[in-house]
């Protein structure tokens, strides 16, 4: 019997992501044109003569293709950095709060709830306004430190429920240290959730970055998918029909967001057998009373607000069924 049952959906998502990664990581080495070099006029149409001209030129006469591959790299960098930061903060706060309980938990979850209630796009905008020299790394940090709360809350909920299981008592009795219980006896139970949440964080961060860039708060002096769209809109490429300037970044952003979400939902199916269709009626049920969605109002709180964390928040709501099952079953 196969241990893990990857669905076709997983393979589609994985190959789309691989494609984006290859373009972003290897692209800059293949398209060797400097993205800041002027190689033509305003919105020169694409031509097949030269690799750099495959997608024409942008408003400054720079190669769109060179900008695109570098832009993808920047966006991926921001997304990964923000995702890792958010994940680490969320995991630490959630694990400690869930395992410790008591006053520590109250304080940590109080902070989490407050940060969760304030729309993260607002904090990101204010922080970016206050920071003058913005680059991709700083933006990644800013997005990362504003998007951890819902991870923290979900991790806390799950580790609270794991804390009372027997194997934790066994570990305690056999003298395992606090940190080792957290890492070896609790964290493994959360890994499936962590993997899915990380995917959403990354996609959310990439979209937040591009939204910020389009508002004029993007990295200065660097190309990202968002800054490409910013310039394309500012110079009216849509209105003048210069599709090569705005279509590539639009399509790449959509591709990134869609493939990451698809990956998340296929991972959900892999980790959570209950979501697989067809066997629904015969499935025996655990002791799960549907947990009242106390968490959901605020988890969703950041969601409708803006594009990126929004989408992440919304799907977090959708995938909270997994969280629930993991926690209660």
């Amino acid at each position: 019997m196969k241990a893990i049952n990857f669905t076709p959906r997983f393979w589609v998502a994985a190959s789309l992501i691989l494609f984006v990664l290859v373009v972003g990581v290897l692209g800059p080495f293949i398209v060797r044109t400097d993205p800041n070099a002027v190689i033509g006029g305003l919105y020169d149409a694409p031509s097949m003569n030269k690799l750099a001209m495959w997608l024409g030129t942008d408003n400054e006469g720079q190669s769109v293709l060179a900008n695109l591959v570098n832009g993808i790299r920047t966006s991926l960098l921001v997304g990964l950095l923000a995702g890792i930061i958010a994940m680490v903060i969320g995991l630490i706060i959630g694990l400690v709060a869930g395992f410790q309980g008591g006053v520590v938990s109250d304080i940590l979850m109080g902070i989490t709830n407050i940060v969760l209630a304030i729309p993260s796009i607002v904090v990101v905008i204010l922080l970016s306004v206050a920071l003058n020299g913005r680059n991709a790394v700083i933006l990644g940090f800013v997005i990362g430190i504003t998007s951890w709360p819902w991870t923290a809350r979900a991790v806390q909920a799950q580790s609270t429920s794991i804390r009372v299981r027997e194997h934790i008592d066994v570990a305690r009795l056999s003298g395992a240290r606090w940190i080792s219980i957290l890492l070896w006896d609790i964290l493994p139970y959360l890994l499936s959730y962590v993997a899915m949440a990380f995917v959403l964080q990354v996609s959310g961060a990439i979209l937040t970055e591009s939204a910020l860039s389009m508002l004029g708060l993007g990295p200065s002096g660097e190309t990202s998918l968002g800054t490409m769209l910013y310039w394309a809109l500012a110079w009216g490429s849509v209105r003048t029909g210069a599709w090569w300037a705005f279509l590539p970044p639009t399509i790449m952003l959509t591709l990134v967001a869609f493939s990451l979400l698809l990956l998340q939902s296929s991972l959900d199916e892999v980790f959570n057998p209950r979501l697989r269709r067809g066997k629904l009626r015969k499935r025996p049920r655990g002791a799960a009373t549907p947990v009242p969605a106390v968490a959901s109002p605020q988890t969703l709180g950041s969601s409708p607000l803006i594009e990126a964390p929004g989408r992440a928040g919304r799907t977090a709501g959708a995938s909270s069924s997994t969280v629930r099952d993991g926690g209660v079953a």
Binding site: L261, V294, L305
Partner: protein, 336 residues
């Protein structure tokens, strides 16, 4: 009694969140290196046209309004008292226009494209999701992947594509602004007929994304409910499908109602970039202009309004939940 306790706790939490938000809103723009008033006044004088006297008056006005010569805590109190009087300050870039006026002009446009989009998207999306979950099979697969695609597509990307395909290529709808040049907003049929042609594209770009998001959420909630004990029990009793679907629908609706309330709370800041794409004169465009001109009072005002709307919606939802669901009250007040 218990309910009062529950509400009391919630009020305290949201007050705390509001205070943190106000602090962030107050402090962050003040961290910008240099005194923003100096920068703005020197900008104005570089533009010429203003005499030294006028400059000085403007400068003093700003210094007094923000109390920039006073200590931080006193500035914060001034900021709070201004807000309490409903005074959002004076714009830097469009002196002497008040921020209240700028925001007041923009807000109706934002609401006009979003409220209908949220409502229509919510109804259609939930129906689609519930039907997909119940029917299963190819319909489900198609609806799910389609909805996932629509909801994962960044809404501004869809806006750009619609603008290009419908507005530019087909040329059937106007591509920029909210009404024709030469008209001014007034409650006449002629103006309405004109404005609605500008309204279609932003509206559709939002609705499609909303439908997708709601359908995905509703589908997974319904699948979750489909496996619940009461459904098995109902089947065992021989209830008809219609009846079971109705129960499932009612139970799966709860989070969706929450989602609706929260979307309405996010209405101010929900479509910032859509407005930019279509040059629609709403909050997003105002924010964009304010950012490009370092117009801190306007930026602050907009971020504050977004925050307050979201906090208020969250708060109302939690109160409603406490009313509807006794389990939540019990869990929150520690009786369980």
């Amino acid at each position: 009694m218990q309910f009062a306790k529950y509400i009391g706790r919630k009020v305290l939490w949201y007050l705390a969140a509001l205070i943190v938000a106000l602090l962030l809103n107050f402090i962050l723009p003040r961290l910008v290196p240099g005194n923003p008033v100096d920068a703005i006044v020197s900008n104005m004088s570089r533009g010429g046209g203003a005499t030294g006297e006028q400059m000085k008056a403007v400068y003093n006005n700003y210094m007094q309004q923000f109390g920039l010569d006073k200590p931080m805590w006193e500035q914060f109190l001034i900021y709070l008292s201004n807000l309490a009087h409903g005074n959002l300050g004076t714009s830097f870039a469009q002196y002497p226009a008040s921020v209240n006026k700028l925001v007041g002009q923009a807000l109706p446009w934002s609401i006009a494209i979003q409220l209908p989009a949220i409502l229509v998207g919510w109804i259609v999306g939930n129906l689609l999701g519930a039907v997909a979950a119940f029917r299963g099979g190819w319909f489900d697969r198609g609806a799910f992947v389609g909805s996932l695609f629509a909801s994962s597509m960044p809404y501004y990307c869809l806006a750009i594509l619609l603008l290009y395909i419908v507005g530019v290529k087909l040329g059937v709808l106007p591509i920029s602004g909210a009404y024709s040049f030469g008209l001014s907003p007034e409650p006449t049929l002629a103006f309405f007929g004109d404005a609605i042609t500008y309204w279609w594209l932003p509206f559709w770009s939002l609705v499609i994304v909303f439908v997708g998001g709601q359908a995905v959420g509703m589908r997974s909630m319904s699948i979750y409910e489909l496996g619940a004990d009461y459904v098995n029990y109902g089947r065992g009793l021989g209830l008809r499908d219609n009846r079971i679907v109705r129960y499932i629908f009612r139970n799966a609706m709860l989070p969706q109602v929450t989602g609706l309330a929260l979307s309405i709370g996010g209405i101010v800041g929900g479509a910032l970039i859509t407005e930019l794409v279509f040059s629609y004169p709403g909050i997003g465009t105002t924010l964009f202009n304010a950012i490009s001109q370092n117009d801190y009072p306007v930026i602050q005002a907009i971020t504050l309004i977004i925050t307050v709307a979201v906090l208020a919606a969250n708060f109302l939802v939690e109160i409603a939940y406490g009313l509807i669901d006794p389990r939540i009250r019990a869990a929150q007040t520690g009786d369980r």
